[in-house]
Symmetry: C2
Subunit: 151 residues, 2 copies
């Protein structure tokens, strides 16, 4: 029996796999409102040649467009990798209620892995390490394959 968080993290994992299938670092995200997926996204940095095209940013842009509002209050975002500071900033700016992430990103993560010490009045709730093993395995296997190809 899956928890709510595991259920939506599995959906985010599907999008992460779609990124991996197109030779992008496999990170996926879904944005949930009232227990329904409002928007989804996956990393497209290489394909779009655009540094902004992280999974979370695609989700937020799509959700704002669907709701016709920059405020995504009451929305939760599920992402397979701990978001970077750009994405945490976008999540704060769009007033998303909760961040649920899968694998930790010790180098670039901005939830737990980098101390931000923000004075911002708005702080989303953060839940880490949901289906962590599956999410990190997907990334690990992607980079293993890449290393093998370049040997």
């Amino acid at each position: 029996m899956l928890t709510r968080n595991e259920f939506f993290m599995l959906k985010a994992l599907d999008f992460a796999k779609a990124a991996g299938d197109t030779a992008e670092i496999p990170v996926g995200a879904v944005l949930v409102l009232n227990d329904k997926i409002l928007a989804s996204g996956f990393n497209k940095r290489e394909k779009k040649q655009n540094a902004l095209f992280h999974a979370e940013i695609e989700c937020i842009a799509l959700a704002c467009s669907k709701l016709r509002s920059w405020r995504l209050t009451n929305c939760d975002i599920y992402t397979t990798l701990e978001p970077c500071i750009m994405c945490v900033g976008a999540i704060i700016n769009s007033r998303i209620k909760k961040i649920i992430f899968g694998a930790k990103d010790v180098k670039n993560g901005a939830c737990f892995s980098n101390r931000l010490n923000l004075k911002y009045s708005y702080k989303p709730q953060i839940i880490g390490c949901v289906l962590e093993k599956r999410c990190s395995n997907l990334l690990h296997n992607f980079f293993e394959k890449l290393r093998f190809q370049h040997q």
Copy 2:
């Protein structure tokens, strides 16, 4: 005689004014490569109803599109207001060399005003407070006018 930084900050100020003219918080930015403006942007959050539409993000998206590359190495970004964490993250992600900002943003700024303590290996150079008075006056007058209209 204007310095290089003042020259480009004046250009960014022109875009900030354009934002203010459309009832947006007046923040503008230009992205400079080889002493030429490659891209410009201004805050369009309300018009677009999208939390991502900060001046810096518009600049970066446009510059990536023009250069057909997510790497904006050797580019400098001039922005009239100290960038928030989303924009600092986007600047790091796109490998912009230098951030030059005008007015400080004590609440939301992520250059000096919030201690980020990042472990990121890539760190852009930061120069603050160029034409600070002009940049902060523009914001101050905008909010004064807003307060007056709502009295």
